[in-house]
């Protein structure tokens, strides 16, 4: 789990080394982040500054809270996203960065700051969302219009399946657990649904939920039958190996699917806006960025922050322009960013990250797989999910 990102890091270093920020670090700094390409690029720049150790782990979200609550904290700087940042902010495990930004943050811009009551608690590096990616060559061959809703996707998938140009027309991150729950969350928000009221009582609209569940099953019928073990990386590979023609995928993978070093169909995959639900886009808006641990010395915090600033130097961003939809200065939205920008413009909502929502998300992720396999009907699955949520939320004192 750890070696893979490291090998990847080596490969990316060759690409990204063109732009090295002017930096030198004397205080030992350690980072813990997710393992997708943007973090590999940023931590590689940090390594170039010296005295730096990076841990890239795609399951980092399971650790962040524990490593930051110990005193001293086990990592100086940590990469978080909006959902993972909730407990860190709530429990005040990260330090306000206002003074450090004033001293070393000349390269950063205001749209990168996550501010709570005036305190900047995190600096975002990139913007992330889920949007449509499709094989332009296949779409042109079969004269298919670019779909904007899921029903249009199914029509397109039908045509592609009939033509037999790829193994499976659709790809999707339907892996049981967090991913599967996330698919539901996106669809359901797209239908204008709400999950919880202000007292954390579930207010899931059953009709909307059934509609979404049925749609998920329809989508799955166009996918590789092993969809319940397929995560984002698996879908990315399916694209790269030319096995699928359409997927609604994370914007952070838009660079990878067209990477000529990895993809057999590089250049043929086009980005478009996230698919629309009946109320708003069935995608959520995320940010990914950096926090600095609270339980460390001021000296370490300053060194850590300087590295963060160096990693987001405009020259670095410009040299790796298509690796992500960067929020940092130096980014010129290219072809890979088209989908993300269009999705945001269409009004995709932010992921409703709260502690109670995390419990709900887990219940959805666990409970939906029995529906997808056909073990439960929609009514039983939803009732079980709500019961599961209630037990877990009560145990966490959220209800």
């Amino acid at each position: 789990m750890i070696t893979k990102p490291i090998i990847f890091a080596g490969a990316m270093a060759l690409i990204g080394s063109g732009a090295m920020a002017d930096c030198e670090n004397t205080v030992p700094v350690k980072s813990l982040t997710n393992a997708f390409p943007a973090y590999v690029i940023m931590t590689d720049v940090m390594k170039g500054c010296g005295n730096f150790e990076a841990e890239l782990d795609k399951d980092h979200r399971l650790k962040v809270q524990d490593v930051l609550s110990s005193d001293p904290a086990l990592y100086t700087i940590v990469g978080v996203a909006n959902a993972t940042s909730v407990p860190l902010f709530d429990q005040e495990l990260v330090r306000p960065l206002n003074d450090l930004i004033e001293k070393h943050g000349q390269n950063l811009n205001e749209n990168q700051f996550i501010t709570i009551d005036g305190n900047v608690l995190a600096v975002a590096a990139l913007f992330n969302t889920q949007h449509l990616m499709y094989r332009e060559d296949i779409f042109n061959d079969l004269e298919i219009e670019v779909p904007t809703t899921w029903d249009e996707v199914f029509e397109a998938a039908e045509t592609i399946e009939a033509a037999g140009l790829v193994d499976y027309p659709l790809g999707g991150y339907y892996m049981a657990g967090w991913n599967l729950g996330f698919v539901f969350v996106n669809h359901y928000l797209g239908e204008g649904g709400a999950f919880l009221d202000e007292n954390n009582n579930p207010i899931i609209d059953a009709d909307k939920a059934y509609l979404v569940m049925e749609r998920m099953k329809t989508a799955a019928s166009y996918m590789d039958p092993e969809y319940l073990v397929s995560d984002t990386t698996f879908v990315t590979k399916q694209f790269q190996q030319g096995k699928i023609a359409i997927a609604n995928l994370w914007a952070s993978r838009a660079g990878a699917v067209n990477d000529p070093n990895e993809s057999t169909v590089a250049g043929n995959i086009k980005m478009a806006a996230g698919l629309m639900g009946s109320a708003q886009p069935a995608s959520t808006v995320w940010w990914d960025g950096w926090v600095v641990a609270k339980n460390i010395t001021d000296e370490e915090a300053e060194a850590g922050f300087k590295l963060i600033a160096a990693a987001m130097d405009p020259a670095v961003i410009a040299a790796n322009n298509d690796a992500a939809v960067w929020l940092a200065n130096g980014f010129t939205p290219g072809l890979a960013a088209v989908g993300a920008a269009a999705t945001a413009e269409a009004g995709a909502p932010a992921y409703p990250a709260t502690k109670a929502m995390a419990v709900m998300h887990t219940a959805l992720g666990n409970g939906l797989s029995a529906y997808m396999t056909g073990d439960k009907d929609a009514e039983t699955a939803l009732a079980d999910i709500l019961a599961d949520y209630e037990v877990a939320a009560k145990e966490a004192n959220l209800l």
């Binding site: 399971l62 909006n82 959902a83 909730v86 407990p87 709530d90 429990q91 005040e92 749209n111 990168q112 700051f113 996550i114 501010t115 709570i116 975002a124 913007f127 049981a176 657990g177 967090w178 202000e198 954390n200 590789d224 039958p225 092993e226 969809y227 319940l228 073990v229 698996f234 808006v285 940010w287 609270k294 939809v325 929020l327 993300a340 920008a341 945001a344 932010a350 990250a353 709260t354 502690k355 109670a356 929502m357 995390a358 419990v359 998300h361 887990t362 666990n366 797989s369 029995a370 997808m372 396999t373 073990d375 439960k376 079980d384 037990v391 877990a392 145990e395 966490a396 004192n397 959220l398």
Partner: protein, 333 residues
Amino acid sequence: MFVGPSLILMLIFIAAPLVTVFWNSFYVTKPQYEKVEVETCTPGFPKPKCTTAVKQLPLLDENGKVVTETSFVGLESYINVLEPNRLRAALEALDWNALNNIEFWQALRFTLLFTLVTMPLVIGTGLLIALTVNGTIQSIKGPVIFVSLLPFIITPVIGALSIRWLFIGDGILTAALEAWLDRDIAMFAQGWTIEILMYVYRVWHVAPFAFVVFYAGLQTLNNDTLESAIVDGANRFERLRYVVIPHLMPLIIFVLLIHLMDAYRVFEEIVGFSSQAYVISLQWLTYDFLMPDEAGTRSISRASASAMLTMVGIIVLLVIPLRRAWRDRRKIH
């Protein structure tokens, strides 16, 4: 005096955690919250978005730790895990599907079946390898033993992952099967194929252990008894049935007990094959309760209850063969 150090270590590493888990299963620790209105600004594309909303924030004490309250809940966590009401409803309606829809009973179903199916296979395969190796010529015995032991040396999770990669998607073995049977195969698209892979994997992994134990037992087999059996006209099968197996019986019981304990804690297969959508085990259930979600919430109490139930299950399973062995011993003396 001599057992002192090991006794202390057992107290620290076995008794203490056990007591803690037992205690945790009857108590729930809840963080305390307050409601605060906060203004949050997050990045938008291209402009930042600011919202003011009432948020539920944990109460922090003067050291910055979350204030928690621990209360006795009795059997509540056990009830939440076992869901006796749904169990009763499913049993009364004789609805197998409804029973299988309750997580704990679904996990128990697989765990028991897994244990009972792999047990005879492990003992049988182990015995077969031991007899085969015992029968080969002396010069190649060493290499043969080494090769037979390899599966047991591999770390279980790594072994499970390698099998998974051989079969997932168009893995080479799936591709080979597809070419051979001339049809599209997806090993990870339904529960029963994953279960078969799990059984096969576990037997492959543990049989070498049974083999080593049985092979050692075969070395102590009295040749005179075997020869006199041959003189009496016993064929190969009769010699196995009346001489070899009775001689190995204590070892077979030993392997059986170890295997029962091991197989009931099946976990690596679930993680390695990421089969949780189709098949879950009791250990995996405990693990799932214990894993923090995105916002760091864990279900410690239910995890403890489920761990205690697993332990009770192992004890029940062990009592049956142990009582038999005990009775047999008494008969002999």
